[in-house]
């Protein structure tokens, strides 16, 4: 059942440009990213490795590494420009509103701390203060949290509540034997279980925005399917907006409402799932979809997009796809195409749809 997404924009990224400084030069990772997220939807961000999807996510969360520089742009989240916030304010935002899940749960979980410690600290950072002031989590059947009459809560009581919330979160991600899991260390669990733990850490905080960065990439296909199923069922429970970052078109087809395609630091096409697969507009998207081998079809040549991913230290001018584009003409190297709507809800950044094609 498709959830009707409201038209309120939860997140709006305008013309975001980010550079990384490396020994070899400045890498222009993001070249003016435009993105809009609606409340309550599941948005898929796809693209090849190195196209800037993770960097976009890290910019939203304020987790860019030290050698990065935000050149320009705006990231409007619930009205505030995140880029203008101090690091302390961003930390607050991360604690209360934005949660991220990452790719490899083995390296992303602290090996010397138990699952319980890492889970409860996640919840503590979000709800700890409220619990201290008397808030209690909603129990099943009681949709809103309640407030105890006595106001301040002691530390023991708080620990107990956090523990219970953690157990509850583990149950919600369908992990067996949650009590035992709380005492385990990450290396004692399987890959799929670790990924569920990470998801539990995120969803226990009820974030407004949940970013899942390549969470299925490191998993077997069967486990992948389970995780995606979990995401789908959780979507009903959570009120969060979810961004699924992946390079796998199959994954986005499974769970997402809308998809954004990125190439070399630009968003080149945004559409609903059905629209994108039925009528891909950008030449890159078209190339991608043609490249998917169809098992049930007859024998055919394996197609690919010709050329290679550009060097981002010396990227191609204007439209970064133009060296590989079968339809490119001289305008493409002179003027960067903007992301514009070509039909309701379907945006493309390509001159093919906005300019008269000059003689090549």
């Amino acid at each position: 059942m498709e959830k009707q997404s409201t038209q309120q924009a939860l997140l709006q990224i305008e013309d975001l440009r980010v550079d990384f400084t490396t020994y070899a030069g400045k890498v222009k990772v993001l070249n003016g990213v435009d993105l809009t997220l609606h409340e309550g939807e599941i948005f898929g961000l796809v693209g090849e490795s190195g196209c800037g999807k993770s960097v976009t996510a890290l910019t939203i969360a304020g987790l860019l590494p030290e050698n990065s520089e935000i050149i320009s742009g705006k990231v409007l989240f619930e009205g505030d420009d995140l880029l203008k916030k101090s690091s302390n304010q961003m930390r607050e935002t991360r604690a209360m509103k934005v949660a991220m899940i990452f790719q490899d749960p083995m390296t992303f979980l602290n090996p010397v701390l138990t699952v319980g410690t890492q889970l409860t600290e996640s919840i503590d950072v979000r709800y700890g203060k409220s619990i201290g002031e008397g808030w209690r989590p909603p129990k099943s059947g009681d949709p809103l949290g309640s407030t105890t009459p006595s106001g301040r809560t002691g530390r023991r009581e708080k620990k107990r509540i956090l523990y219970e919330m953690a157990i509850d979160a583990l149950r919600r991600v369908r992990l067996p034997d949650p009590e035992r899991m709380m005492k385990s260390f990450p290396h004692e669990l399987s890959g799929g279980m670790r990924q569920r733990v990470m998801i539990a850490m995120a969803l226990a905080r009820n974030p407004d925005l949940l970013i899942a960065d390549e969470i299925t990439t490191a998993l077997d296909v069967t486990i992948q399917a389970q995780i995606l199923e979990l995401l789908r069922t959780l979507r009903g429970e959570l009120k969060s907006t979810i961004v699924v970052i992946t390079h796998d078109l199959g994954v986005v087809a499974e769970v997402c409402d809308r998809i954004g395609v990125m190439y070399a630091g630009d968003v080149v096409e945004v559409a609903t799932v059905d629209d994108l697969f039925a009528k891909p507009m950008h030449p890159y998207t078209q190339g991608l979809l043609h490249a998917i081998p169809i098992v049930t079809g007859g024998n055919e040549r394996l197609e690919s997009v010709r050329g290679t991913v550009p060097d981002l230290i010396h990227p191609p001018p204007a439209c970064r796809f133009n060296p590989r584009c079968p339809h490119a003409w001289d305008l493409c190297a002179k003027e960067k195409p903007k992301l514009l709507a070509q039909s309701p809800g379907h945006f493309v950044a390509c001159h093919l749809y906005t300019q008269e094609r000059k003689a090549s």
Binding site: A61, L63, R91, E92, T93, R94, A95, M96, A99, M100, F102, D104, T107, F108, L109, N110, P111, V112, L113, E121, S122, V125, R126, F185, H187, M198, M201, R205
Partner: protein
């Protein structure tokens, strides 16, 4: 439990290594002809040649080397390590050693506390402010300490804090020995460690005096060693801070201090902990130069005297005990790793 199996395996290995060590030690102290005549430890100048010869036969010194080794081993395992050289005639080696050992322990523990107390924070600060001024400053301090001979630094400390302070009229720190002469014997000897004995015996002045005496030598040792520890801590901190789980911890919105203390340090300090254990073990062997400079009545200083006096028995005993301490310390540290790092299972 597999850990117990591991420990047992290591213990067996330890026996073999000790055996090898004992062979080397025996050869060095008894076998090399020009070095020491083992008989000297058992004779005094007044004995006649016949008596000396009799002692030779009694201890088997006229036998071929490998037979001597078995005599020696038999004696050793029975606890008879012979007597020290001529000066302390009649004193069994084990007795002398146990008399001096607590002083070395006091110095070793004090030096370790100082080294860890200064070295670890220095390393952490270095890592957090990587490549900025505090990092460079701490690097210079660390490397200078590492490059300094103990006798020179100890001497400089004595010069300043004992000699010149006295001349300038400032309260000065003592520079020799572990205790003021006048206080000797003021407190019953329970552990042999001056500070502890003072506290246990309720004599605070005694303990305080012992404390004052240990400051300069401990600081000398600490200054030399903390550089290395600080560098190790810095390196492992830097590596930990680049790990993915730190990114996740930050993404949870945790305060930076929590990220550092709860997530980073717990991982980064593991190598430092093992290093500290080995450091302490090494110090228990007696910091020879420092004890010499400060006239500290420890085991190291005694070994120096023994080497120069040709006291084969003491040197053999001492070397073996040190080797034992170090080997055991290695084992303890390795086992400790299991508790520090939950990923390790033997």
């Amino acid at each position: 439990m597999r850990t117990i199996e591991y420990v047992i395996r290591r213990l067996i290995l330890m026996v073999f290594v000790l055996f090898g060590v004992s062979l080397v030690v025996f050869y060095l102290t008894h076998g090399v002809p020009s070095a020491w005549d083992p008989v000297t430890a058992f004779i005094n100048p007044k004995m006649s040649a016949a008596q000396i010869q009799a002692i030779r036969v009694q201890h088997g010194f006229n036998q071929p080397l490998y037979i001597q080794y078995f005599y020696w081993l038999r004696d050793a395992l029975q606890g008879n390590w012979g007597h020290t050289g001529n000066e302390a005639l009649g004193q069994p080696v084990t007795y002398i050693f146990s008399l001096r050992f607590p002083y070395t322990v006091e110095l070793a523990v004090a030096a370790t506390i100082l080294t860890v107390g200064i070295g670890i924070p220095l390393g952490i600060v270095s890592a957090l402010k990587n490549n900025k001024l505090p990092d460079h400053v701490s690097r210079i301090v660390a490397l200078t300490g590492y490059s300094t001979p103990a006798y020179w630094f100890g001497f400089v400390l004595q010069l300043v804090f004992f000699y010149y302070f006295a001349i300038w009229g400032l309260p000065n720190l003592p520079s020799h020995g572990a205790l003021a002469q006048t206080l000797d014997g003021a407190v019953p000897r329970t552990t042999g460690i001056p500070i502890l004995d003072g506290l246990l015996g309720g004599n605070l002045a005694y303990a305080w005096d012992a404390f004052l005496h240990v400051i300069l030598p401990a600081f000398t040792l600490a200054f030399i060693s903390l550089g290395y520890l600080a560098r190790i801590v810095r390196a492992s901190m830097l590596e930990v801070l680049r790990q993915d789980y730190i990114i996740l911890a930050r993404s949870k919105g945790l305060r930076e201090r929590v990220v550092i203390y709860r997530h980073a340090l717990r991982n980064a300090l593991i190598p430092a902990a093992t290093l500290t254990g080995l450091f302490l073990a090494g110090l228990l062997g007696g910091a020879i130069i420092t004890e010499f400079i400060f006239a500290w009545p420890g085991v190291g200083q005694l070994s120096l005297v023994a080497v120069f006096a040709g006291d084969a028995n003491f040197v053999a005993y001492y070397t073996l005990v040190i080797a034992l301490i170090i080997i055991v310390a290695n084992l303890v540290v390795d086992v400790l790793y299991v508790f520090l790092d939950p990923r390790i299972k033997y």
